[in-house]
């Protein structure tokens, strides 16, 4: 138990939980109503909303383990906040992704390959699709559900272990916990990398099951770390203005977070471009269709709304944060770093939408749809439901965070490197 009394801020956790429960009740209501009308879109809001936060939390889990393995001197002060947060990861998988996967109505609507009677634009039913049959060793419902359960188990175990020994150190002051956490992290990094790759395959790539990209897991990792760092910047900004990091966070901490944001902005661009570049160069129809439906309106042949989203990602999610983060001043002036962090959060949401929302919808009217399908547009009223889902899941995450901070030390008071972290210098 905690030595010092919890920070006043943590008392608000019940309010956040109430907001989260109300928002999620509304989202699930519309999702169920939509499913009753055979509309997948509201269910997709639940998936997008939960994956947005799952992505942030996976990034934080990986950063927790990476800073442990590298024994990063700057990290303990900031890492404790990740430790408060990561326990939300298995919880969000349970209240967000698992109900969609385990309920057969939602599963058949969102993951078309699970519905054998679903008609494809080619005129085949999914059950008779040779492409699906060839991948059925991986894409079959039992294995799919087992994998979802495995993600909860693996991420849950890592989160519990990383928290337990770190919190234990606050009271028993044993350096042995640090060594134990090294070992857990060394095993956890490859394990987490495989798990997050499979999760990206199942929750996003499998929404369009004909398509495949071997870089997809790395893309999801890059996006997760970018998001996690941006949210960390926003969170530590709030916590150093009236929270438990007041007076503890200095210019050097902002600088290191800014440098990492710059590095992962470049890494994300490198991965995202490489995926596009390889598919563009090879020019194989079973790969290029995924980008085609994100650029061209199948009915008219003109650029669709998705083309606008992709341009926003190039200029608003790469060039803007990249060029903004180059000068030293951006990385140390709190307001500027905060602005870039919000730009990255907005861009990441666009990227998630770009990956999750466009789907081919079979059309029998071949006069208006010569290709036999239409593509779900970007601008629909369901975007508001997506945002409500993000607010709902976010409020639950913040409630879990504050509750954890109220029951444990808000900073790791007996971490061997805590003084090094507080006095961190460029």
């Amino acid at each position: 138990m905690s030595n010092s009394s919890p920070h006043a801020l943590t008392a608000h956790w019940k309010k956040f939980l109430a907001v989260g429960v109300v928002a999620l009740a509304i989202v699930w209501f519309f999702a169920c109503k939509g499913a009753g009308n055979h509309d997948y879109r509201q269910g997709l809001s639940v998936l997008v909303g939960s994956l947005f936060w799952i992505s942030i939390l996976i990034g934080m889990l990986m950063l927790t383990m990476i800073t442990r393995v590298f024994d990063a001197g700057w990290a303990p002060l900031i890492r404790r906040n990740w430790e408060h947060l990561i326990i939300a990861l298995p919880i969000l998988l349970i209240i967000g992704v698992a109900p969609l996967a385990f309920n057969s109505t939602f599963r058949h609507l969102l993951w078309e390959w699970t519905d054998a009677t679903h008609m494809l634009p080619s005129g085949h039913a999914v059950g008779a699709d040779p492409i699906l049959q060839a991948k059925s060793w991986f894409l079959n419902e039992n294995f799919f559900l087992a994998r979802i359960a495995l993600y909860v188990a693996i991420f849950g175990t890592l989160a519990v272990l990383l928290r337990r020994w770190s919190f234990a150190q606050d009271t028993d002051r044993t350096a042995g916990h640090t060594h134990r956490l090294h070992a857990v992290s060394a095993v956890g990094i490859p394990l987490g990398a495989i798990t997050l790759t499979m999760l990206a395959f199942d929750c996003l790539m499998a929404l369009s099951y004909h398509w495949f990209s071997t870089m997809y897991g790395v893309w999801f990792f890059a996006l997760s770390i970018r998001l996690a760092l941006a949210v960390t910047v926003i969170l530590t900004y709030k916590l150093s203005n009236g929270g438990w990091l007041d007076g503890l966070l200095n210019q050097a901490h902002r600088h290191v977070l800014g440098c990492l944001m710059l590095a992962f902005t470049v890494f994300w661009a490198y991965i995202s471009f490489s995926q596009y570049f390889l598919i563009y160069t090879a020019n194989i129809p079973e790969e290029t269709f995924w980008y085609n439906i994100r650029e061209i309106d199948a009915a008219t042949g003109f650029k669709s709304q998705w083309w606008g989203v992709s341009m926003y990602m190039i200029f608003g999610f790469f060039f803007l944060p990249f060029l903004s983060l180059l000068p030293y001043r951006t990385k140390i002036v709190p307001g500027r770093l905060l602005t870039v962090a919000w730009i990255i959060v907005a861009g990441a949401l666009a990227d998630l939408w770009f990956n999750a929302l466009p789907r081919q919808m079979t059309q029998t009217d071949l006069t208006n749809y010569p290709e036999g399908f239409s593509v779900a547009p970007f601008l629909t009223s369901a975007l508001f439901l997506d945002l409500l889902a993000i607010i709902g899941f976010g409020a639950v995450v913040i409630a879990i965070f504050l509750r954890s901070a109220s029951r444990n030390e808000a900073i790791p008071v007996h971490d061997p490197r805590i003084l090094e972290s507080i006095n961190y210098h460029e």
Binding site: F273, Y276, F277, Y280, T281, N283, L326, Y328, N423, H425
Partner: protein
């Protein structure tokens, strides 16, 4: 400047410990000195602020190198694939920003690295084969157990006796005049 000062590089003064040399450096900075330096056996955190040093100008040359590399990469691929010997490869356009991007991007990185590497040499005034400080017997101890502040004669504030007394007033131990 008189003839005597022209042959002097500056005055060196040793300090016993980190705290002495750190506070002395702050006072030299506050006195408005520009041409001076601190020598220590190991890096001291916060010394750049204590000395009032500005950020290194090297990143500007890195950026300049990067921009040059980007333009070079664009011109290189455009000239070779689209102008000098137009060639269709894999049904792609003669030139667009997509297919030659690896070349453009590698050129950007290469030239940015050149900017950093040579920029560092330029701003550190390297190569620099000899320095008057090397003649000082005490200077070798700066890489072992001594801290040193050197006030250079080319600073307009420099006056041999005043500078010597200034350093002693800051807690300096042993004063040496460095011959140029």
């Amino acid at each position: 400047m008189n003839e005597r000062n022209e042959r002097i590089h500056g005055v060196a003064c040793t300090f016993r410990n980190v705290s002495d040399v750190f506070h002395a450096a702050e006072k030299v900075r506050d006195a408005g000195w520009k041409n001076w330096d601190v020598h220590t056996p190991f890096p001291i955190h916060g010394m750049d602020q204590a000395m009032g040093l500005p950020r290194s100008p090297v990143p500007r040359l890195t950026l300049l190198g990067g921009i040059t590399g980007f333009i070079t990469g664009c011109l290189l691929t455009w000239y070779m694939n689209s102008y000098d010997y137009p060639l269709i490869v894999g049904g792609k356009p003669y030139w667009s920003v997509i297919f030659p991007f690896p070349v453009i991007y590698e050129c950007t990185i290469l030239f940015a690295a050149f900017g950093t590497f040579f920029g560092q040499f330029i701003f550190n005034r390297l190569p620099h084969h000899h320095h008057p400080l090397f003649d000082l017997p005490q200077f070798s101890r700066v890489s072992d157990d001594t801290f040193m502040i050197v006030l250079e004669a080319r600073d307009p504030r420099f006056h041999l006796d005043d500078s010597r007394n200034f350093l002693l007033s800051l807690g300096g131990q042993e004063i040496t005049v460095i011959r140029a």
